[in-house]
Amino acid sequence: MSLISEERINRAESLPGFAGVEDYWALLKPRVMSLVVFTALVGIVRAPGDIHPVIGFVALLCIAVGAGAAGALNMWWDADIDARMDRTRTRPIPAGRVEPGEAMVFGLLLSGASVLMLGLLVGVLAGALLAFTIFFYAVIYSMWLKRATPQNIVIGGAAGALPPVIGWAAVTGTVALEPLLLFALIFIWTPPHFWALALLKKRDYERAGIPMLPNVAGDDETRKQILLYSLVLAPFGVAPFVLGMTGWLYGAVSLVLGVLFLVFAWQVYRKREGDAAERASKHLFAFSVLYLFLLFAVLLGEGMVR
């Protein structure tokens, strides 16, 4: 084989645009998508009124694809940051398997398709809310807040908190107090969840130049903020029961989980040095995921049996 042919083959091997299906799937951030689907399903199930199962499925599918599209746009915009962080350097764009432009087109196409489908087949309000969520995550959070302020994930958390509201709107065509409470719950949950991770990945964020709270205000201030947000979150978790929207099971579970959340947050606040501090942050991060999952699982269960 001539030198030229070998060179061609080598160039072809390193050519972007030859990604596998799994790379496009990874662009959709499937783990984030699963949480979005779950919380949106709770919004659908708890909403008063009926929705045909097929239309309900279409609503969930559109919300999932819309969330995935926002994830792809985020990966396109943040490819430079992702390449500098251990946690994200193997993602399809920084690894060179997908071209940035491809990810952008992929994200835009799926955004448009999911919003149109949701708006036309399910409801205009749900479609508009999905469009706003994608815009908020891709433009307000990814392009603006993330690199500009340590309050990035506080404000950006609104995008992750909207799926139950979209689910509710898909059934009723309106928004009510209950989905707004669920929105507030996820919104207030986001900062302590992400700051626990930021304490652990501080060097990664520093290398990438992202102004996360521990990098800007220091670890101690972050621990204080985590505790303060947790103090607000715990009562908010119980609020749906106090306002008569849920049964006793949710009331009991949210109370116990809220107290546990405060205990884990207190451990993060108190343990500030060495392995103990790292363990406390890891425990809070892991428990925060469990906290939200269990609360929404009980809400889902109660919604299905009522």
């Binding site: 030229i4 042919s5 083959i9 990604a19 299906v21 496009y24 097929v54």
Partner: protein, 63 residues
């Protein structure tokens, strides 16, 4: 030889050909799924009568 190589354009490896085939298959599956989904949603939203021919209302012509 160089010219011949140039005429061939980009030469794909077997792995890249397999990858392209898998992508094409995935697109075909997604499109098939969407066709079925839109059909089912049409039936659900318009009811089984969606496929039935309806008689047009009589038009009165005023001379």
């Amino acid at each position: 030889m160089n010219a011949m190589a140039d005429d061939k354009g980009v030469v794909l490896t077997e792995e890249q050909k397999k990858s392209r085939k898998r992508r094409s298959l995935a697109i075909a599956l997604v499109l098939t799924f969407l066709v079925i989904l839109f059909y089912v949603v049409t039936i659900v939203k318009l009811g089984p009568g969606a496929m039935r021919k309806t008689e047009l209302p009589a038009v009165t012509v005023i001379a």
